[in-house]
């Protein structure tokens, strides 16, 4: 193996298989974004063309509409066991970005996720976050145990060495597993190109604009771009001077916004 994409792929498949071997009830989060779509592909590779785990989407109801139609179409074509999590209580009470972006994320994403975790007795979750996305994700472990309040205890993370992942956990703890943690944004696109993966067309430029990172429409800006296909995106990323999540409003609410959100269980 001399190709670095082979190495990244193989490392991730190893992690996915470890998670499956050691966890009672494994699920994965799929946001329809490029990262979790790559993760989905890696799961399929790990299990020789099968999807033996449930796929969860947390729907805030504020997602860009094309995302939902693409989700349903993709899930049907690929025979995914899809679970959609919605915080109906909060939505009925009128939760919206105007009530405060962090509160909204906490309620419609974190709480909705925790409800699903409890309802389906999920013990372990594969999540497609990457260390180079933003500062607090850079401090993550491949395996991150969450206490029953789902708190991320970043000061007391267990030691993680070589390929040994600590997946033994007490009953009331669920664990987040991050197989893509060491990938970069460019790695993801190079891999999408190599594997000829289908990604949601929102990433490709239309009328001089494209999404570089996908989220809820009130809090996600598109960027100026002429990149209409994967090759052009890769060339664009090689010379960009801005970070991937520059268009994500919740990151900028205050200095440590992401850390605060993620400490209480945000992805």
């Amino acid at each position: 193996m001399t190709n670095y994409l082979d190495e990244l792929e193989s490392d991730s498949i190893f992690i996915i298989r470890e998670a499956y071997a050691k966890s009672k009830n494994l699920g994965m989060l799929w946001s329809m974004g490029k990262d979790s779509t790559v993760l989905l592909h890696l799961v399929r590779k790990a299990f020789l063309g099968n999807y033996p785990i449930v796929v969860i989407h947390i729907d805030t109801s504020y997602k860009i509409p094309e995302m939902i139609s693409w989700r349903d179409d993709f899930a049907r074509r690929n025979n995914l066991r899809l679970i959609v999590g919605v915080n109906k209580r909060a939505l009925a009470d009128g939760m919206a970005p105007e009530k405060g972006r962090l509160q909204c994320c906490g309620s419609l994403k974190t709480e909705a996720l925790l409800d699903i975790v409890h309802e389906h007795r999920i013990q372990a979750l594969l999540i497609g976050i990457r260390g180079d996305e933003e500062g607090s994700r850079g401090k993550e472990r491949i395996v991150s145990p969450r206490l029953h309040s789902s708190t991320w205890a970043y000061k007391q993370q267990p030691a993680e060495l070589w390929h040994y992942y600590n997946l033994h956990l007490p009953q009331d703890v669920h664990v987040r597993i991050h197989p893509l943690l060491r990938w970069t944004e460019l790695d993801i696109w190079n891999y999408i190109r190599r594997e000829k993966l289908e990604v949601i067309p929102l990433y490709y430029a239309k009328d001089g604009k494209r999404y570089r990172s996908l989220g809820c429409y009130p809090c996600t800006d598109s960027i100026e771009s002429g990149a209409r296909n994967v090759d052009e995106i890769i060339e664009e990323l090689k010379s960009t001077k801005l970070s991937e999540r520059a268009g994500r409003a919740q990151d900028k609410v205050d200095t440590y916004a992401m850390q605060k959100l993620r400490k209480s269980g945000y992805m």
């Binding site: 193996m1 001399t2 190709n3 670095y4 994409l5 082979d6 190495e7 193989s10 498949i13 190893f14 298989r17 470890e18 499956y20 071997a21 399929r44 590779k45 790990a46 299990f47 020789l48 063309g49 099968n50 260390g131 180079d132 933003e134 500062g135 607090s136 850079g138 401090k139 145990p145 970043y154 000061k155 993370q157 267990p158 030691a159 993680e160 060495l161 070589w162 390929h163 040994y164 600590n166 033994h168 956990l169 007490p170 943690l181 060491r182 970069t184 460019l186 190079n190 090689k238 960009t240 001077k241 801005l242 970070s243 520059a246 200095t255 440590y256 850390q259």
Partner: protein, 653 residues
């Protein structure tokens, strides 16, 4: 780019391996707290242009709000606690590209409290940068980090003496620190001749030589790093084939043995051995998705094997070629670093993880300069003896497989990391006679012989009074096992006294030595895969226990032939009781010398009540229950026997 012109096709199709497409060299930055590791990395990122402008702007805003100067470290240390206290809690990974090379840097925290994070970070690295504060010099954490690097085998090292601006770029002070560090490196047997003065905060001697260091004519940090980068990143296909078995999947009614190849390579048709179970099969196909069947799988790859002969094995096994098996040990020496806040508890049970195997173990002795140590604190690096509760497969010799690296865990936490030492001072619980004599390894492994011949080896130790029927049972067993095609050998105590033990009499000491020699011979035969039948009076429990420890608990099967003394005297097949009665011989066990019957033999045979056939059946049943014979092993790899009638007779048992 579109290439419609066929003349240009070739040029366009040549894969240009840009730096983006190359594997990264992983570099860990270590050293004591506040010596400037995160600052160094932050600065490297900025100067190389690897960090986006909005990230830099964010840090500028944070620093301005704090009323402080720009802190490059904040580019990595993004947590609020890290920024308010100016300390790294967790390690951070970041990438940097320089002149055709890609580096993955890991910033390791320097605090003793976070030694687990530092050890984890360093476990992924191939190169290390040791940062030393020019004002503070070598601190206890500097030493600790170097000890951890030595244990992990990260030996490509660069020493950066940081903050030289704070010592007014003084050459003498710099060289003093270098000399002290060199001494330390020598003690730890770490080879390093790359020392350089830097100022991380000012960016001096990182990418550009510094005007303030006219006396330094060496390379910049990035130049040294480029030279340290090894020629191949990973995935070296050399070395013996090893695959860690992760799982067995059942899809579409078929079983797939999923795992990761960690060294060497494998092709379909290969005969493979699973360790420690000793089971053998043949690779029918190598499967991965979407390219169904593969002709080859190499180190680094995650694949699944389909086997032509179905066997039952589970996660945790190491797959190899039978003639290149890993070692299967129930005791080994290792160097570990203790990571947990709680001290190491002597004799307590921990979980040992090697490869994908997990077994209980106890850490039962410490040696540091051959002195015993009572406890281990967080951050201590020590030599220990580890005793797994059941044999575990590993590669003792540092190679490409990484199967000499392990962790120790409690139920929910990883408490230590270690690497197995090549040295093997202990063997089956016995210290070797002289420290200058070392066991030579690399001979044909017993497991391979066992797999080839289709049964395991064991020692049947028959004990009982003279006349209790040991020799008769030994002969009957030998005939029965030989007829079934088993490799068998009888060691008769009386016969050995005519040769190997001819110098020994019947004193207490001589009897003990007699048993020790028989046990050692039995052990040699055991390693040759033989079913050894020892027929020997062996009257003392202490001597038999010693034999058990020489042979090994699992391989020693004690069979007690129980028979009343009067019955034995009546039988007297060798006329010895008569000679004892007439006073011709003395120290006769059962008469004027004691016979201590075994309390918990593996099998008790009442030779006064049972027929010889019944006795033989009882022993055969014992061998079956211990899975010495009659298991799946070797079913698909029958040994070549000169006489086919023997192979046919195998069906008898």
């Amino acid at each position: 780019m579109l290439c419609k012109n066929s003349a240009n096709q070739d040029i366009c199709d040549i894969p240009q391996q840009e730096v983006y497409d190359k594997p990264a060299f992983t570099v860990v930055v270590v050293g004591s707290v506040d010596h400037g590791k995160s600052t160094l990395l932050g600065r490297l990122l900025m100067e190389s242009g690897a960090v986006e402008v909005d990230r830099v702007r964010r840090v500028e805003t944070i620093c301005a709000a704090k009323g402080s100067n720009f802190e490059p470290a904040f580019l990595l240390d993004a947590l609020e606690e890290e920024q308010s206290q100016g300390v790294s809690i967790e390690s951070t990974h970041c990438q940097l590209r320089y002149e055709g090379q890609k580096f993955q840097f890991i910033d390791a925290p320097g605090h003793l409290e976070f030694i687990k994070n530092m050890t984890g970070a360093a476990s992924y690295a191939r190169i290390a940068i040791l940062v030393i504060d020019a004002v503070e010099g070598v601190r206890s954490q500097t030493i600790r980090h170097l000890e951890v690097l030595a244990m992990l085998g990260v030996t490509r090292l660069l020493v950066a003496v940081n903050k030289v601006d704070k010592i007014n770029y003084d050459s003498a002070a710099y060289h003093d620190i270098c000399a002290k560090t060199q001494e330390l490196l020598n003690t730890l047997k770490l080879d390093c001749d790359h020392f350089l003065p830097i100022s991380a905060l000012n960016g001096e001697n990182l990418f550009k030589a510094s005007e303030n260091l006219p006396w330094y004519s060496g390379k910049t940090l990035i130049q040294v790093l480029s030279e340290l980068a090894p020629p191949a990143a990973r995935g070296c296909n050399s070395g013996y084939f090893r695959m860690m078995l992760q799982d067995v999947y059942r899809f579409g009614g078929e079983r797939f043995f999923a795992g990761r190849v960690v060294s060497g390579s494998i092709t379909p048709g290969q005969l493979i051995l699973f360790s420690p179970s000793g089971k053998v099969s043949i690779v029918e196909a190598i499967i991965s998705y979407p390219d169904e069947k593969r002709e080859l799988a190499v180190a680094g790859e995650c694949v699944a094997l389909k086997l032509s002969e179905q066997i039952f094995v589970e996660r945790g096994e190491i797959v190899s070629r039978p003639d290149q098996a890993p070692e299967v040990l129930d005791e080994f020496i290792a160097t570990i670093v203790w990571l947990a806040e709680e001290e190491l508890e002597l004799g307590a049970q921990y979980i040992l993880k090697i490869g994908t195997a997990e077994v209980g173990c106890s850490v039962y002795a410490f040696t540091s300069n051959n002195e015993s140590v009572d406890l281990l604190n967080r951050g201590d690096v020590r030599d220990v003896i580890i005793k797994p509760s059941s044999p575990i497969a590993l590669d003792r010799i540092e190679g490409t497989s990484g199967l000499n690296r392990f962790v120790l865990c409690t139920k929910y936490d990883t408490v230590a990391a270690g690497s197995v030492m090549e040295e093997k001072r202990i063997f089956r619980g016995m210290p070797v006679a002289s420290p200058f004599v070392q066991r030579e390894n690399g001979y044909l492994e017993r497991m391979v012989i066992e797999a080839a011949q289709g049964h395991k080896a064991a020692v049947l130790w028959l004990t009982g009074l003279s006349g209790s029927g040991k020799s008769a049972l030994a002969k009957a067993l030998e005939a029965r096992l030989f007829a079934a095609g088993r490799t068998v050998m009888v060691l008769d105590g009386d016969n050995l006294r005519k040769g190997l033990c001819a110098d020994l009499g019947f004193s207490r000491e001589d009897r003990a030595e007699n048993i020790r020699r028989i046990a050692e011979v039995a052990r040699l035969l055991l390693d040759a895969g033989t079913l050894v039948i020892v027929a020997c009076l062996s009257p003392y429990a202490e001597d038999r226990d010693r034999a058990r420890s020489i042979i090994g608990e699992d391989d020693y099967l004690e069979i007690f032939l129980s028979c009343p003394l009067e019955v034995c005297q009546g039988r007297d097949p060798k006329g010895l009781y008569k000679k004892a009665a007439s006073g011709e011989i003395t120290s006769f066990s059962g008469l004027d010398s004691p016979y201590q019957p075994p309390v918990h033999p593996n099998l008790l045979i009442d030779s006064n009540q049972m027929s010889l056939d019944q006795e033989v059946e009882a022993v055969i049943a014992l061998l079956r229950s211990k899975q010495v014979i009659g298991t799946a092993i070797g079913r698909i790899w029958p040994a070549k026997r000169p006489n086919t009638s023997q192979s046919m007779a195998r069906e008898v048992i």
